[in-house]
């Protein structure tokens, strides 16, 4: 079977706009998600029950329900309440782009918080003892030792999470956004050529995946150089 390459080429702008939107949604949700994940991860390993259990419940519920349900709850669900529709936030909450970024940010924050909590728990004992011996206060200890060290060690798993998020962004097409998948859907609706439409989208995602893998390899070489096996 041969694909209609000239037609794909002709519709390249459609896909390019899709790539731009996918990357925009991905970057915004990752940045907001990470900003949320740091306090959540710290709460998750805290000794205070009042901090630990709410964070546990949050990550458990978010990780136990499908992303699509969370997206629908925010995009379609919130409009059910009169108070939301009257609030000054309504112009944002009725926008598909805003709701999608919000839902994705909440989702990735739960997964990233768990990753960060795992790294914090795996902090070598000696690092903490050394910091205490230097007379650091708890706040300084977190700021100078625990967080930088744990964030670095989370990098390889966080790379996986970013790849999963890239795939998750395809759900944006379900709430009317024209991202890469949305471009493929438009293409298919216009010409009824499903193979051309979705194989092109699949290839674009594959290329983006390989680029991100490369990027994280470079980042690991930079920030995790001190953990690499010794070369003679």
């Amino acid at each position: 079977m041969t694909l209609d390459y000239p037609l794909i080429w002709q519709n390249l702008p459609l896909y390019l706009n899709g790539i731009a939107l996918t990357l925009k949604v991905l970057l915004i949700s990752l940045a907001c998600g990470l900003a949320l994940a740091i306090p959540l991860g710290l709460m998750r390993v805290s000794r205070a029950c009042l901090l630990r259990y709410p964070a546990w419940l949050y990550t458990y519920v978010i990780r136990g329900t499908p992303m699509l349900v969370q997206l629908f709850l925010i995009y379609y669900g919130l409009a059910q309440f009169e108070a939301v529709r009257q609030s000054p936030l309504w112009p944002y909450l009725s926008s598909a782009t805003f709701c999608t970024c919000l839902a994705f940010a909440i989702n990735t924050s739960a997964y990233s918080a768990e990753l960060l909590a795992g790294s914090l728990r795996a902090t070598p004992r000696g690092e903490v003892e050394a910091a205490r011996a230097m007379g650091m206060s708890r706040l300084t200890l977190y700021r100078r030792i625990l967080l930088p060290s744990a964030l670095r060690r989370t990098l390889p798993q966080y790379g996986n999470e970013v790849l999963m998020m890239l795939q998750t962004t395809s759900l944006a097409s379900i709430v009317t956004l024209v991202d890469i998948t949305g471009a493929a859907k438009t293409f298919n609706a216009r010409y009824y050529l499903p193979f051309e439409a979705f194989i092109t989208a699949g290839l674009i995602y594959l290329v983006l995946t390989f680029l991100l893998v490369r990027l994280f390899k470079l980042a690991e070489r930079h920030w995790l150089a001190y953990l690499a096996p010794r070369k003679h």
Binding site: T65, L68, L73, L166, S170, P194, G202
Partner: protein
């Protein structure tokens, strides 16, 4: 509270569970086959195995679901026309869903199974051989029971992701709980209520799976002690 839509959503949940179980059965088969291919010394088996796992894991589930549904429909109808069958054939979304999810998670599971197989010390298989067991006997008696223990954490993870992915099949028209909830939400103008109910059902499903699989893990870890930190 659910305006009489409760039982319809529960029917949808039942369908989602069926979908997840059948897709998982297919994924286990494909995963074992894929792992066997990748572990094979024969290049013409190992390379396609690697391509399968890499390509499938790099493309979003939704794109593959749409490709299989629309593309499959196109292919089936062209094939039917070539064979002289004039009527339009509709692909069943349930069948499309089982096939696509099975195909996707087969790729993820083949990685899990391959890792589990590689984690078993080589000497055990050699000892089996020394006792005069055939390659098949070594696999069934020695490797397989231990692979269950070693693959369980990865399997649990994949099962949870697959369960949640079933929600996507509503996009191609399967009347699962997501689809039923959307209908009910449109009819009653209470989307939050119904999607929250679906979220609760999914949470119940994932929590129950987690408890069950933890029990299995305990059963298969008898005699093994984790390193104390």
């Amino acid at each position: 509270m659910l305006h009489g839509y409760g039982s319809s959503i529960l029917d949808g949940a039942w369908l989602s569970i069926h979908l997840a179980l059948l897709a998982m059965a297919l994924a286990i088969g494909l995963g074992l086959f894929g792992a066997a291919c990748r572990l094979s010394p024969l290049k013409w088996l190992a390379v396609p195995g690697e391509v399968y796992t890499t390509v499938v894991r790099g493309i979003p589930d939704l794109v593959l679901i749409l490709l299989v549904f629309y593309g499959g429909q196109d292919l089936v109808n062209r094939l039917a026309l070539a064979l002289g069958y004039e009527q339009y054939i509709d692909i069943n979304p349930f069948v499309a869903g089982v096939c696509t999810l099975g195909f996707i998670f087969g790729a993820y599971l083949s990685e899990t199974f391959r890792g589990a197989f590689l984690a078993i010390p080589k000497g055990q298989a050699e000892a089996g051989m020394a006792y005069g067991m055939s390659a098949l006997q070594v696999f069934v008696r020695i490797s397989l029971p231990q692979m269950v223990r070693l693959a369980l954490p990865g399997f649990t993870n994949n099962w949870l992701v697959l369960t949640k992915s079933t929600a996507l099949i509503s996009v191609i028209g399967l009347q699962d709980m997501m689809f039923k909830a959307k209908n009910a939400a449109d009819a009653t103008h209470q989307p939050f209520t119904f999607f929250l109910a679906v979220a609760a059902l999914y949470l119940l499903l994932t929590s129950a799976s987690l408890l069950l699989l933890r029990g299995v893990e305990k059963r298969y870890s008898v005699g093994f002690k984790a390193a104390e930190l």
